[in-house]
Amino acid sequence: MRAPGGSQGGREAVAGDILLSVEDVSLSFGGVKAVSGVSFDIRKGEIRAIIGPNGAGKTSMLNVINGFYHPQQGRITFKGEARPRMRPHDAAHGGIARTFQNVALFRGMSALDNIMAGRTLKMNANFFWQMLRYGPAMREEVEHRHKVEEIIDFLKIQEIRRTPVGRLPYGLQKRVELGRALAMEPELLLLDEPMAGMNLEEKEDMSRYILDMNDYFGTTVALIEHDMGVVMDLSDRVVVLDHGIKIADGTPDEIKGNQAVIDAYLGVAH
């Protein structure tokens, strides 16, 4: 694992243009403000962490980026294009993939089928060939199976290919979910607490996958995580939310020393 704060200089060079920018976004449900006036950006190739205490609006932020919620105010620009009424499947077309805080796998399907489902967008054999399972349909099926097997190898889940995911232990489910997101070959991958409920060893594995994926596939990652050690180790830049407001933004080192962040986590007498 990368030494804390040691290699940011090198990583900054990798990170390039702005991939996604969030400008002055506000979102509320009824009277409750989940996010208000938040702005930040994500650069191509970086690992961007979003942290904050419970209820800070982190997951809501991801849901806005995804298109599940539409902000009442502000805008999201992805690859230089603002899409105000973007739906989740538009986000998928654009190259945004996502994992969930509570694993959202297709429970009735095998691990293999789950990851194959991640390839849906890349497959286009028409209904006729699908009916016959022949010609283009079969070719496509085999071709994508190759890709999926690469991901299965990468995540070391060969043994559980045929197991219905509902029967897998939690740690493996998280891994399959990551595989499904990877199968989409996304440009931006949103990870919502990828290590929640894992033990140390599993966390180390998962961190390794995230870093490797970022290195090999060049996937830009935005992740929410509560484990500060992991966040500081993995990420290039961190944005901190509290009560729906951005209170800090910067490199892990900057964040560590930030008084507002320390207050938010430890609590101050108001």
Binding site: F29, N63, F68
Partner: protein, 318 residues
Amino acid sequence: MDILYSIFIDPFAQMIGAPDLLVQTLWDGLVGGMLYALIALGFVLIFKASGVFNFAQGIMVVFAGLTLVGLYEAGVPAFIALALAIAVMYGLAFAVERVVLRPLVNQPDIILFMATFGITYFLIGFGEFVFGGDPKVMITDDLYLPKGSFNVKMLGGIVNFQRLDIVAVVVASIMVAALAVFFSKTRIGRALRAVADSHSAALSVGISLEQIWVIVWFAAGLVALVTGIFWGARSNVSFALEVIALKALPVLILGGFTSIPGAIVGGLIIGVGEKLAEFYWGPLVGGGTDAWFAYVIALVFLLFRPQGLFGEKIIERV
């Protein structure tokens, strides 16, 4: 133009031209709607307390009525038969909790929903097996229910009221009021509402789910018995009523699944609506529209206001 005239103008002209007929239609619709509302009420009771969408409620109505009449025909005096029928409904509630609900606790809603299809079929088979499949006549006389009708002169015509219908309206109102008091004032009622909010939270403060479920299913069974008596008195007691009992489903969509006032208002709207539609617009399409009118209304509602008239807006969390 003829068609537009007969859709948009003629029916209203008829309404104004013969207001007595309009009142008669409205009254018939209200009484019919009240019976739908009573079935829907049983649904709501169970749904509120256990989150189970009880498809068998309509069948419970017929089953309760059939038990009452069947026991009477077997020589049991009317009021003892009534007491026994109540006991049978308690037994049913107990059995359902033991055999169906308890093993299926924590299953997805849709599984429980389908399990109530099983209850429906079992009750149909069991009821007919024990009491025979022929339609039966409700024992109105022995239960001292009034019969016959009287006419009231109004609006330049005569409107006919069945005495039975008036008693039905009164009894239904008393029952709804009693349930409302039960829910808001008694200890069990408060526990019921707690269970409705969260099963696990209710468990953690020491409310026995099993007991609550038996109570709500029994309450729904009682509502079913009352409904069965009045409905049976209007037509016959037989499982052919099953199809009519399904009308309570669109009522629920209108009223919302958790609202008792919703069930009542929804029932009345559906009852009046389908009578008016059938009487004034039905002839244009050949009649029989009351077979589907309620469902189409529900469908329109589902598209524009899925939470019903009184339901709370459902916010889906991601």
